[in-house]
């Protein structure tokens, strides 16, 4: 079976990439292929990269509080580009109260500080291989 392909992305202007990089490495150690976008990506750039790299799933990381505007936009653009089958999850400094709204907008899981790497790996495996 082909390895799961993941795009880890930093939407917006936030420069805190410790989480995105640690998760990227953990996913790679778990046998996945990981592409990291680097900082300051617009939702358009993220969706473009996801389609181009033919990924199964996108991980969005944001610690600046801009998640409510940026995360849903990625899902919308994926659909608009006919790539709605690519799943999206997110993480960062995200208040509990924002999570239901993000879930409703198509962010399938939101991982907040303190989440174990194992939990993220398990989620991706189940989500992608369960299709």
């Amino acid at each position: 079976m082909a390895p799961i392909r993941v795009l880890m992305a930093k939407p917006g202007l936030d420069g805190h990439d410790r989480g995105a990089k640690v998760v990227s490495r953990a996913l790679r150690d778990a046998g996945m292929e990981v592409i990291y976008t680097g900082l300051r990506q617009s939702p358009e750039q993220i969706v473009q990269a996801a389609i181009q790299e033919d990924v199964d799933i996108i991980g969005l990381s944001c610690l600046s509080g801009a998640h409510n505007s940026l995360f849903p936009k990625v899902v919308e653009l994926l659909k608009a580009r006919g790539a709605g089958e690519i799943a999206v999850f997110g993480g960062g400094v995200i208040p509990e109260a924002d999570i239901p709204g993000l879930r409703a907008a198509g962010i399938e899981a939101v991982f907040t500080p303190g989440t174990s790497l194992e939990e993220i790996v398990t989620f991706i495996r189940e989500r992608v291989s369960g299709q």
């Binding site: 936030d14 805190h16 409510n68 940026l70 907040t112």
Partner: protein, 549 residues
């Protein structure tokens, strides 16, 4: 000596027996930097160097002043700013009324990256992690009713630091305050942005040139301003160990000094205004030792490597912030305790100013209640614990002195490695420093996963139902209001004056002149931050990170 060693050997035998009966909790004990720890430290572990070191004397291991907090306490300086200039101004006045002694301005990300609030990339970010400043008009509101000769102001601004400092100077002019009376700091530390914090704009070379322009301008015109705050804080937050934090910070500092000296500045003209910014993490004794080692290392670097003569050039004066990355979203009230202990390490380590984090910052910007507890934590340390009553109270502790020496040795080793590679910029360009930080961050997370590292409330001592505290929400309308303000400003100012001023900046940048005077003129003409940085982007280009994971 012989006698002491014999006694220790004998004692060790007894210890082995005790261990056989009561095995130790862990296979090995070590600090966050991997320094192995003995069961106990004795006079035999004291580094030979100086048994009678005193504070305020070279190499300043024990402190930069003779009487430290017995004279004046550290500056209690809470980093704050959000939404509009108006709202942030109100928070500052509140903090000052609560006994805070200095201001620390947090700017939003568009401001930190030199973009106006109406730029497409600013969407969703305006006013989120700090205050949105598009022009001098916003800065005037930010400091309204705050006399700039009465406060000291720290501004966390790096790539566009020259513009924000110019705005501050212009506000001072309008308040009728002499620049010589201004006290404060701009972060202005671009090198750590490339490896840890991410708010870079231009490539390293022109960035270093602008930093040198600021050193030169301020040495002459704003003599009491700290022109840079060379920051290990964010390097540590990104995952570095205590040793790496000090090593990478000092490597960057060496690069700034080398660049300024190469540009023809005299080291003693600007070195007294260099300041530092460190993290206060959770390993209490390692942190205290780290601060002591950093002071000693810097004094030696400045005197030996750069031949600095002025005593003030040798002093490593630093701000400290408690470690944001140690705050947990789980059982957030526990963070009050973490912050208190981290803050204590900074005080025991001789910090000049301190920010204590708020308990809710793993979830959002802090609420007013949380900020008050954070400030009270400092006040309790200052006035109730007695920790501020004696200079360097842990000096002479066998353990602390030994740790200080070991951190110093390890930092020197790392600095030698960076020198071999050609200095900080080369080590950043090759990705060496980024890789070191990432390796430490990953190792830490793996230790948490295996419970080698316990985080209370996260991987042990958890509760099933977490209560959700009341969090600060930034009104999403801030972005739109800020865009309207900017549009209003642009329709009111004199377009020719703005265009002329921007052309002068372009010309100065192309010719390599000191950019401070033309930037100041542009700011006075109400050119926007995005316009000024836009011109510089055209001349200098933008930094393209090579992101490796």
């Amino acid at each position: 000596m012989q006698d002491k060693q014999e006694r220790l050997a004998l004692w060790q035998k007894g210890l082995d027996k005790a261990k056989a009966r009561f095995p130790e909790r862990k296979d090995k004990f070590e600090t966050s930097s991997g320094i192995p720890l003995q069961t106990v430290y004795t006079a035999l572990d004291r580094p030979e160097a100086d048994d009678f070191a005193l504070p305020g004397e070279f190499p300043y291991t024990r402190g930069v002043q003779r009487n430290m907090y017995r004279g004046r306490l550290w500056t209690m300086r809470q980093y704050a700013g959000f939404a509009s200039a108006q709202e942030s101004n109100e928070r500052y006045k509140y903090l000052l009324s609560q006994g805070q002694t200095g201001l620390s301005v947090a700017f939003d990300l568009p401001t930190q990256i030199g973009l106006d609030s109406d730029h497409p990339l600013s969407e969703g970010e305006v006013g989120k992690v700090g205050v949105a400043i598009d022009s001098l008009a916003d800065m005037e509101i930010l400091f309204s009713d705050i006399p700039l000769d009465k406060v000291s102001t720290s501004m966390t601004i790096n790539a566009p630091a020259i513009v924000l400092l110019a705005m501050y100077l212009a506000v001072a002019e309008k308040q009728g305050v002499d620049w010589a009376k201004l006290k404060g700091t701009i972060q202005n530390d671009i090198l750590k942005e490339y490896v840890a914090r991410g708010t870079y704009i231009f490539p390293p070379e022109p960035s270093l040139k602008i930093i040198t322009d600021i050193f030169a301008f301020c040495a002459e015109k704003v003599p009491n301003w700290n022109t840079i705050s060379i920051s290990g804080y964010h390097i540590r937050e990104a995952g570095a160990t205590a040793v790496q934090e000090v090593a990478f910070t000092l490597a960057n500092a060496i690069c700034y000094v080398e660049t300024a000296v190469a540009a023809g500045l005299q080291v003693d003209d600007f070195a007294p205004r260099l300041s530092f910014f460190f993290n206060a993490h959770s390993n209490l004794f390692e942190e205290v030792a780290k601060f002591r080692a950093a002071r000693k290392l810097w004094a030696e670097i400045m005197s030996k490597r750069f031949g600095a003569k002025a005593p003030k050039s040798l002093l490593l004066r630093f701000h400290t912030q408690t470690a944001g990355s140690t705050l947990t979203a789980q059982q957030p009230d526990n963070n009050v305790v973490r912050v208190a202990l981290q803050a204590l390490s900074a005080v025991l380590g001789g910090t000049q100013s301190l920010h204590t984090n708020s308990r809710d910052e793993a979830m959002a910007l802090p609420s007013e209640d949380s900020v008050r507890i954070a400030l009270r934590t400092q006040q309790i340390i200052a006035h109730e614990t007695g920790a501020a009553d004696v200079v360097d109270p842990l000096g002479g502790s066998y353990y602390i002195e030994s740790l200080t020496a070991q951190i110093e040795d390890r930092v020197k080793e790392m600095l030698a490695k960076i020198d071999e590679q050609g200095g900080a910029v080369a080590a950043i360009n090759s990705g060496f420093i980024q890789r070191q930080i990432q390796d430490s961050a990953y190792k830490f997370q793996l230790d948490v996963e295996t419970k080698e590292q316990i985080i209370v409330g996260v991987n042990q001592f958890t509760v099933d139902d977490e209560t959700q505290p009341e969090l600060l929400r930034v009104d999403p309308a801030v972005g739109i209001e800020q865009q309207q303000r900017l549009a209003g400003l642009k329709s009111q100012r004199k377009p020719e004056a703005v265009e002329q001023a921007l052309a002068a900046i372009r010309q100065g940048a192309e010719k390599g002149d000191n950019l401070f005077p033309p930037v100041l003129d542009a700011v006075r003409a109400y050119a926007s931050l995005g316009e000024i940085c836009g011109v510089l982007r055209e001349v200098y280009g933008e930094y393209q990170a090579k992101d490796l994971v």
